[in-house]
Amino acid sequence: MTLQETGVAAGAAAAQPAPLLSLDGVSKVFNGDLVALKGMSLDVFQGDFISLLGPSGCGKSTALRLIAGLSHPTSGRINWAGGQDAGDLGVVFQEPTLMPWATVAQNVWLPWRLRGKSFAAMKGRIDEALALVGLEKFAASYPRELSGGMKMRVSIARALVTNPRLILMDEPFAALDEITRHKLNNDLLALRAKIGCTIVFVTHSVFESVFLSSRIVVMAARPGRVIHEVAVVAPYPRGEDFRTSADYAAHCRAASAALHDAIGD
């Protein structure tokens, strides 16, 4: 049994300390009648890699915006262990969202710059973040000189330069070609192994979610809600071996079945 149902995963979680972040019955209603998200509860623990998987309109991006504090829940609570401050969060959007007028290094500097730190003082951190995504040679380039995959790497470097407690990723690789996406999937796991960050990742790809995450939260649409949580218990590091293993295929089948449940509802 490689797949565990929610109950078992929660049982394992109970042994851990208090969650880093918890959503408690969070709902979001737009314009008074459009229910984007209904009663979502989720505990995010230190070191988790959680994928929110579901069809469009299932509220996964809404959930991410709520966690990011970009909108506020209509009801329910979002709690950060020990409160939240500006450096706690790194975000990667579907587009690289870089400032075209600034160099790669200046883009990565942004989170620090907004906290009043000079470029010179942060040079070491910036170089380190760029080295982590393999772009140390491109610090002085402008975004337009980079390929789509490289721009996304810059975006990731910017998200992790403050060493945030949690990184949110909103379908970051959806617009990339398959080869680049696989490469970035591998790189993301390598990165996570190195710095041990906690990630909440939104995707509509079953394969991507199984390859990357330790927990998959399957969501359904109309109204957007969580219907399953499946744990992927395959150990990290995961590489090409895992991607072609029977184990991976079995996980994908199970996640697919859960997703079909979500769509079929």
Partner: protein
């Protein structure tokens, strides 16, 4: 065998490429040469029309006479040019400060924009020639009056373009700034102003030409008192005296000034944007 094939095939391709290169060279040359040829032909035609019809020089001077006047009157004309240039430049400067300042206020406060935007539009659509006489009745200083005239004409493109630019910063970047807890000032300084730069520069190029028009109108209305006579006043004065060659000489200088202002602002725009903005990037074809 394979080597022979390649050797045979290569020249065919080269000839194609060479033809394309020749076409490109011709086009580059033509870009300069064609307008020049047109200019020479027009001047020649102008000269002939004067001769064929026996037109007196106080009605339409021959091009040679205009050129001569440009040289003989160079001291007067150059002095006038400097005065008009100064008015234009100062007006453009005030237009930039006023336009950008108002644009920032408009984007910072919805109420401010709601209250004052309609009046900015009214100021823009009312012809400056109609307002100018009043300005010089109420404002004693000719210089300030002239600046005000030129400013009224020139500030609007800067205002409207910069406002548009400030509002068009990428939405995801705005979200990112919110997530990182950016202050209003940081958002303006690091996100909105750089995003508005290309729009502002577009407005500036239009404003440069308008500032010149504003300066010319102001000179026509205000005359000379206390400021010295600029090119527009020189035209007015010379036409009263039927010194038509000088009218033409001054006119040529005004047109040249407009072209130089436009080129200078285009160069400025290119230098500021060449590293990152799509408009300034050369593409290999």
């Amino acid at each position: 065998m394979a080597i022979a094939d390649t050797a045979a095939a290569a020249p065919v391709l080269d000839e194609e490429e060479a033809r394309r290169a020749r076409a490109r060279r011709r086009e580059r040359l033509g870009r300069w040469l064609m307008p020049l040829i047109v200019l020479v032909m027009m001047i020649f035609l102008w000269d002939r029309i004067c001769v064929w019809n026996n037109i007196p020089h106080y009605i339409l001077p021959r091009p040679g006479l205009v050129a001569e006047t440009l040289w003989v009157d160079r001291v007067i004309l150059f002095k006038a040019l400097l005065i008009t240039l100064r008015t234009t430049f100062l007006a453009l400067l005030v237009a930039v400060i006023g336009g950008v300042g108002l644009a920032v206020l408009f984007t910072q406060s919805k109420f401010f924009e709601m209250s004052f935007y309609p009046y900015a539009v009214i100021l823009q659509v009312t012809p400056i020639v109609a307002i100018a006489p009043l300005i010089f009745i109420y404002i004693q200083s000719k210089l300030i009056g002239m600046l005000l005239c030129a400013w009224i004409v020139a500030f609007f493109p800067v205002l409207s373009n910069t406002t548009l630019g400030l509002k068009s910063a990428d939405h995801n970047l705005r979200d990112l700034f919110s997530i990182y807890g950016a202050t209003r000032w940081q958002r303006l300084r690091y996100l909105q102003l750089p995003a508005a730069l290309p729009y502002f520069l577009g407005g500036l190029r239009i404003a440069g030409g308008l500032a010149l028009i504003g300066a010319v109108v102001a000179e026509y209305v205000a005359g000379t008192g206390g400021v010295g006579s600029g090119l527009a006043f020189t035209i007015l004065e010379s036409s009263y005296r039927l010194n038509i060659p000088r009218v033409f000489a001054a006119l040529i200088l005004i047109a040249a000034m407009g072209v130089v202002i436009f080129m200078a602002l285009s160069l400025l725009s290119h230098l500021l944007l060449r590293k990152w903005h799509e408009s300034a990037i050369k593409r290999e074809s």
